[in-house]
């Protein structure tokens, strides 16, 4: 590897990991006042406070929300991406633009506007959150799967067909395994949308669905519990990081 590449990678790693250093220090600090470079007293008070504030159930809720959004947005995005990668969709550009619109519209405005509609339609709050977040995740899954399908050679399925596989079997035994890395990437992004959302969960969920981001925000809005905020923040950063590494390894294996 060239020296330049190595330096670049090191710089990138530092850039990504540096913000985590104060977080880690704060999480383990029982006392850390202004002029000191390092905490004066180490301890687990932050962790205890975080658990007491309901971090366990909140991260469970966030996990379930992320999984449900991924389970809905990944197959939908795969189907939309597959259709849009071919030439069979009339006005495909317009359809893609409509699917990408959640990226452009301010989420606050969308959530506020749709909240009223969902209330009038008597849609349960948690269902509303899932619906909106699935729509918000669709741009990512659609674009990723569209690229994957565009690069996928349909000759593989045709070969499977002439070898005796039904159309369904060709998709299950050949197409999906070959697209597994892209599907994993799309599911990861959709999971992140559900896992890290704040605005939609707060407005549409009406405060009933307390997820990790809501807990972090409420803890951060009060003063004097930096250690607890740090633990909660680490708790919301580390699981996706672990997932990312797992997805990356899956991609590299192929």
């Amino acid at each position: 590897m060239a020296l330049g590449t190595r330096l670049g990678r090191a710089a990138l790693a530092v850039w990504l990991l540096l913000p985590l250093v104060p977080l880690v220090l704060w999480a383990a600090a029982d006392r850390w006042t202004a002029p000191a470079v390092l905490p004066q007293a180490w301890g687990t008070a932050g962790l205890r406070d975080a658990v007491d504030s309901g971090a366990g159930t909140a991260s469970l809720r966030s996990t379930v929300l992320g999984l449900v959004v991924a389970a809905l947005a990944t197959p939908l995005g795969a189907m939309a991406g597959r259709a849009l990668a071919g030439s069979g969709v009339p006005a495909g550009g317009a359809v893609l633009a409509a699917l990408l619109s959640p990226l452009v519209l301010p989420p606050f405005a969308v959530a506020l506007g749709l909240d009223v509609l969902l209330l009038r339609l008597r849609v349960p709050a948690s269902v509303g959150v899932v619906l909106l977040l699935t729509v918000a995740a669709l741009p990512y899954t659609t674009v990723l799967m569209r690229t994957a399908y565009a690069a996928h050679d349909p000759g593989f399925e045709e070969e499977a067909r002439t070898l005796g596989a039904t159309a369904r079997r060709a998709v299950l035994a050949v197409q999906l395994p070959m697209l597994a890395p892209a599907l994993a990437g799309a599911a990861f992004l959709a999971f992140l949308v559900g896992w890290s959302d704040y605005v939609v969960t707060l407005l549409v969920g009406g405060g009933q669905l307390v997820t990790l981001p809501l807990l972090v925000a409420s803890a951060a809005s009060s003063v004097g519990n930096e250690a607890q905020v740090a633990v909660l923040s680490l708790g919301s950063v580390l699981p996706p990081l672990a997932l990312l590494v797992a997805v990356g390894l899956l991609g590299r294996r192929r």
């Binding site: 050679d153 000759g155 593989f156 045709e158 070969e159 499977a160 067909r161 002439t162 070898l163 005796g164 596989a165 039904t166 159309a167 079997r169 035994a173 050949v174 395994p177 070959m178 597994a180 192929r254």
Partner: protein
Amino acid sequence: MSAALDLEGLTRVHASGSAPALDGFTLDVPAGSCVAVLGPSGSGKSTVLRLTAGLDEPTAGSVRLDGRDLAGVPPERRGMAMVFQRPLLFPHLSVRDNVAFADRVRGVPRRRARERAEEYLGLVQLAGYGDRPARALSGGQEQRVALARALAAEPRVLLLDEPFSALDTALRAEMHDLLADLRLRLDPTVLLVTHDPAEADALADAVAVLDGGRLQQAGPLGELYARPASLAVSRLLGGRTEVPGTVRDGVHTSALGPLALPGPVPDGPGVLVVRPEAVRVTAPGDPAADVTGTVVRVRRRGLRALVVVQVPGPVGTAVEAELAAGEELPAGRPVGLVLPVGARTVVPPAGPASAPDPARSAISHG
């Protein structure tokens, strides 16, 4: 295992309004034989295979297997396995599981399917490669595995779509030998598509020449070389001498003078074509010479040289001749040419449709 394939009037129009990719194509492939469809890029030859395999629906015409019409039968139930120019090995499976694929989808237990896969890997001389990932193979090995995978499906007809075109010359010759060997052992019915006359010659019992979506001529390749039915066939098989003229009472009159023809040919305009191998070069004063001219270009072809001889006249007419091995003739040398009567063939003049069109062959492929 093998069955007789019978294509009749196959026509395929890809998009309504466009010219048909294939137009009324009829071909018999007897059980156990190997027939090659020979044509340039974009001639519709891959379409023949796709319609036969059921990957595309014909606009008109029928595909029959041992007399049974396959209209509406999906590809997986036609009993035809296809090998494409790209190996298309499933990258998520090992070499062995690739070969076992057909058995697995038809419900053979995994252990039995893998045992059979090993047998077929042995047939293509890749015994011991089963555990490797499909992508850890060279190009020639990939194509062998693709062939083993198709054969393991025990197809009633094996469809080969330029399977060896991407390989270098030595590997291609090796694959030709392998396929000839497999034909002896398994006696499959093979429908092969290629643009290479040498490949058709090496593998096929009979050849069908396709150009512009239409069947030009079918028969043993030797017959096509000796008696091309059209300029397209002559050109595809490497013929370059084309002398326009007129036929009257079995004599072709052109810039080369009157030349008697071997068989009956209808009167009217016709183009004389002669294979370079048939033309004999002699001294300019030789009384046996049919025409005299001057060597204007020499083309090396291995041990033998090909000379282009310009025959004087109002319109420049060139005749190509192959020299004997080791023989040399410099450009500028006057020579006499003997065009044996049996080698003279007259084909209809090129209509506007069959004139060579470089733009067309550049656009589409396959």
